[in-house]
């Protein structure tokens, strides 16, 4: 089923146009990597603050509010560039377990970030007001740190598996 879809997609006029332009994949991948850089540094600053590894004058709620537009814009750019790369080489992406793992982890990362933001919007002190919330916040921070690194790893291994 997916194989047939990949065959159909790679034979479309749009895919063929992208495949024959030598500059297309490297350019889209460059934009993709810069979007990952912006996403990762934004979520890592939040994670490190939740873990207490960055001492900053700026409260967590202010940091999260500032980085929210950057995080979601970067995710949108990743989605668009990811779709373009998939149209160009459907089988390389859709039939690859590293790609599927990466997509799953992006969803988990987005969910963790959304949860952190959602709680802070209602209560700016939420992640520090009780021992339970602090523990959950630190756990979320650690999960985001690990998943961020795993997303980059899976992304690079798409080319090798």
């Amino acid at each position: 089923m997916i194989e047939e879809f990949c065959d159909w997609l790679s034979a479309t006029r749009l895919s063929l146009m992208f495949q024959t332009a030598d500059w297309f994949v490297p350019t889209v991948q460059t934009v993709h990597i810069i979007a990952i850089a912006i996403l990762l540094i934004s979520v890592y600053v939040i994670s490190l603050k939740l873990l207490g590894w960055i001492r900053s004058v700026q409260p967590l709620a202010a940091t999260v509010a500032k980085s929210t537009p950057w995080i979601w814009t970067a995710l949108c750019v990743l989605l668009v560039t990811g779709i373009l790369l998939t149209i160009t080489e459907p089988a390389r992406e859709l039939l690859n377990w590293a790609f599927r793992l990466k997509m799953l982890m992006v969803l988990v990362l987005a969910g963790c970030v959304a949860l952190i933001q959602w709680r802070l919007r209602a209560d700016p002190e939420y992640w520090s007001e009780s021992a339970g919330h602090r523990w959950t916040g630190r756990t979320l921070g650690a999960v985001v740190l690990v998943i961020g690194a795993c997303i980059v790893t899976a992304g690079r291994w798409i080319a090798y598996v």
Partner: protein, 162 residues
Amino acid sequence: MAIERFLAWLQDLPLPTQIRESAWMFPTVETVHVFALVLVVGSILTVDLRLLGFTNRERPFSQLAREMLPWTWSAFVLAAIAGALMFTSKAVIYFHNIPFRIKMLCLALAGLNMLMFHWIGVRHLPSWDASAPPPRARFAGGVSLVLWTTIVATGRWIGFTT
């Protein structure tokens, strides 16, 4: 050429040979390089965008730089080590690769730009720390943004031209 003989000797050392011939070593080193580079670029872009006045305008520049720069330097050291390992595994090929040379040139220029910003731009930091940076500092931020974007682009192009 003496340099080519040296590079051929370098890539035939045990570790570079192992990286080149192993099925998992090169991708692993490359993954570490990309991960570290992503953190370097992300943290530098955050500082550059502050210099250009696009983000964190209300935050003192010194506060943001203090928060970012330790991560930038740690990640840069990691990226440089992984990058050096990748280079040694195919030293002759990389030496002749044009995108690789442009990447190295941009890295050198980015370092020079940072030094100049440190000597000239930061000298008057107390006068603009909590407000809009002067044109000289904004220029340094813009140059850095262009150079690091080119470093990412040429880095990606290496994979398509070797």
